[in-house]
């Protein structure tokens, strides 16, 4: 620390990403004195690097515990499916944890071991000598394309200048998400190679993300919204088919009665569906609605009551099907029932 501090103020430190080294001073135009390129990063004060214990909080241990518990659960499930999971996962945990231990522990101990380790090792070199994903890549692959190799190295050096706590959690997060995603998809993907996107941008604190304030609620909301099943449940197909068809009377036309869904005027003798509440609609208007929600649009009477059991049973399937149908049909023009309609009476709608 002393080397970085003068007059009580930390000296600015810089890192050249082209040379991949820390540099003492900059040229006046903010370039590297070695390569004269400008890909320079000003580093944070390095005090934290030397005192890892002061920088790792209880919250971090909770996060670790959370990650490990999930990882352990995930790996157990994966073991049942296939054996491929174990190699990468156990090896990586050991690499970081068991520098002083020659014999690997049984898998069962992993979560517990990390949980009970209340302080990370004191000296940074002992603690984070390897970027685990890097080592794994080297083992599992033969020759690596040069530019790829280079970018990985840059990232490695780059992160190794960060405060220790950050690095440590980051590695845990990497491992966790590789494992988690491979558990989900059956494909072992590596975050450090993923060209498409970095899943970590979605994340803050993983425990909070899932179970924290409103976290679970958000997920449930999201799922419900995907189903689009807010509001009353749909009416079953049988009940929809049972709705009687009647014909429009002269009286109704004289009263300028309209279909409340399409807003077209009814015409004499036109066939319409009449609900229990006596409200009438064109069949192509009311049926798609009832397939979504089993209520009268005008008076909101619930139509499915005396057959509640059946309604509950085939709710979701028909509901989704109805949604798709409505979406489809809305792209077509109406083939239906409304040759009148100059739209002149729309201000006078009569709801029965």
């Amino acid at each position: 620390m002393a080397d970085g501090v003068s007059d009580g103020r930390p000296m600015p430190r810089f890192f050249c990403h082209k040379c991949s080294v820390e540099i003492e001073r900059l040229l006046p135009d903010y370039t590297c004195p070695l390569c004269t390129f400008g890909f320079i990063e000003e580093l944070e004060s390095n005090e934290n690097d030397r005192s890892p214990t002061g920088d790792v909080t209880d919250q971090d241990y909770l996060n670790m515990a959370f990650l490990n518990a999930l990882r352990y659960a995930g790996s157990r499930a994966q073991d049942v499916d296939n054996g491929t999971f174990q190699t990468g996962e156990t090896r990586n945990v050991r690499q970081r944890r068991d520098h002083s231990e020659a014999t690997p522990r049984p898998r069962r101990d992993q979560g517990e071991a990390i949980l009970t380790r209340r302080t990370p090792p004191d000296s940074a070199p002992d603690f984070v000598p390897v970027n685990p994903s890097e080592q794994r890549t080297n083992e599992s692959r033969g020759p690596i394309h040069d530019s790829h190799n280079r970018s990985r190295r840059m990232r490695h050096f780059h992160t190794s200048r960060r405060p220790l706590r950050h690095r440590w959690l980051r590695q845990e997060m990497d491992l966790f998400f590789e494992d988690f995603m491979s558990g989900l998809t059956g494909v072992h993907l590596r975050l450090d190679q993923s060209p498409v996107f970095d899943i970590r941008v979605l994340l803050s604190n993983p425990a909070e993300y899932t179970f924290g304030r409103n976290g679970l609620d958000t997920i449930v909301t999201q799922l419900l919204n995907q189903m689009d099943t807010t509001g009353p449940p749909p009416l079953s197909r049988t009940l929809i088919d049972e709705i009687p068809t009647t014909a429009i009377s002269q009286d109704q036309v004289d009263n300028k009665l309209q279909c409340s869904i399409c807003w077209e005027d009814f015409i004499v003798s036109e066939p319409v569906r009449q609900l229990r509440c006596l409200h009438v609609y064109h069949a192509p208007c009311i049926v798609p609605w009832l397939e979504l929600h089993g209520t009268c649009p005008i008076c909101r009477q619930i139509l499915g009551e005396h057959d509640a059991q059946e309604t509950v049973e085939d709710t979701i399937g028909p509901s989704l099907a109805a949604l798709f149908r409505v979406a489809d049909e809305s792209n077509d023009t109406t083939p239906s029932a409304s040759p009148t309609s100059d739209g002149s009476s729309t201000g006078n709608r009569h709801d029965i």
């Binding site: 909301t221 807003w263 649009p297 809305s330 023009t333």
Partner: protein, 154 residues
Amino acid sequence: MAAMSPSKRRLQRELMSLVREPPPGVFVDGDEVGQNLTQWIVHMEGAKGTLYEGEQFQLQFKFSSKYPFDSPEVTFIGGNIPVHPHVYSNGHICLSILTDDWSPALSVQSVCLSIVSMLSSCKEKKRPPDNSFYVKTCNKNPKKTKWSYHDDSV
């Protein structure tokens, strides 16, 4: 008109009705909306004798191709978002007929009337208690919010 989808036909009818006989305090520019029937701007003024008297508001309606089976997405927009316990500062409105209680027999006009009425019955101008949290975390589309309706008094 013959080539219009059912939702467009219905919107066209609603527009004609609203231009011809607008409810008090509600104004819609028929030419402007006629350009794009799926997104309307409705101008609204606070009713006389209420806390919002003299204020001008703009409501934006967005309609999906499933309208009227699917409710419109309705938000306040522009410089003056009414300060009301059910109106978030981003313009989202907590009103059950806009989601759970939507019915295809409702219309732009009836939604406008409900909103005017909601504003008019307000006793104290204030934002919803969870305004800052909601505004930070919500989806752009208020219909994506799982609203829980609990206050029928305002």
